[in-house]
């Protein structure tokens, strides 16, 4: 990971301001920050909480994804993923990209989120309002 990208995995609430500050530079006219937030429903059922767990090497996967995107785009890229017990309204993922213009910032941020969702070994167990629990994505 170079000085243009940052990846973090944390059990504590994520620091959005720190990620924004990391990607910002005086050359950038656009900063796009995505927040993935725990919602209160999934496939038509009520959701009360989610337990996130990560593979011991998950941080390396996240750092590589951020570093590769920074290299491909020439932009500054940062992402943080939270793990542990989260409730509705908690922020599970923050992805931030800065670019000279908005289109490339939006595009790169969307790509970053997509790569994180498909490429980082993180799992979540969903607690439904009915009392049942299920692994998401199975």
């Amino acid at each position: 990971m170079g000085d243009r990208s940052l990846g973090l995995i944390d059990e504590r609430p994520l620091d959005r301001a720190a990620l924004e500050a990391f990607v910002r530079s005086s050359a950038d006219g656009a900063v796009v920050v995505f927040e993935g937030v725990i919602r209160d429903h999934d496939h038509g059922e009520g959701v009360s909480a989610l337990d996130y767990s990560a593979h011991p090497e998950a941080l390396g996967f996240l750092e590589r994804i951020c570093g590769q995107l920074a290299e491909e785009t020439g932009l500054r890229v940062a992402a943080a993923h939270r793990v542990g017990a989260l409730v509705v309204g908690d922020v599970a993922l923050i992805a931030a990209v800065a670019a000279p213009h908005r289109t490339e910032a939006f595009t790169a941020c969307a790509e970053l989120v997509q790569r994180i969702k498909t490429g980082v070994p993180i799992w979540k167990r969903q607690h439904l309002a009915s009392g049942a629990t299920e692994w998401v994505g199975l």
Binding site: S53, I116, P121, W123, K124, G137
Partner: protein, 77 residues
């Protein structure tokens, strides 16, 4: 013998976090796991993957060395 580690839904399906198994390839491991742990593990493996030497693999021909991790489908974000 390979150390096989289970994560998330795979650990639930196996009822354990790890064990040692005599398996030479990912395909052999897949067959063993489905025979040993049934439908719950088959479901995990259908869209899951193995982590072999730091690389996520879905290739049944991949040789297994000292350690392999059973990874359910990723669900971050």
């Amino acid at each position: 013998m390979a150390e096989v580690r289970y994560f998330a839904a795979a650990a639930d399906a196996a009822g354990r976090d790890s064990e040692r198994l005599e398996v030479a390839t990912a395909g052999e491991l897949r067959l063993h796991l489905i025979a040993a742990y049934g439908d719950a593990m088959a479901r995990v493996l259908r869209s899951g993957a193995f982590l072999i030497d730091g690389v996520v693999s879905r290739d049944d021909a991949a040789p297994i060395g000292a350690r392999v991790d059973v990874l359910p489908p990723f669900a971050g974000g």
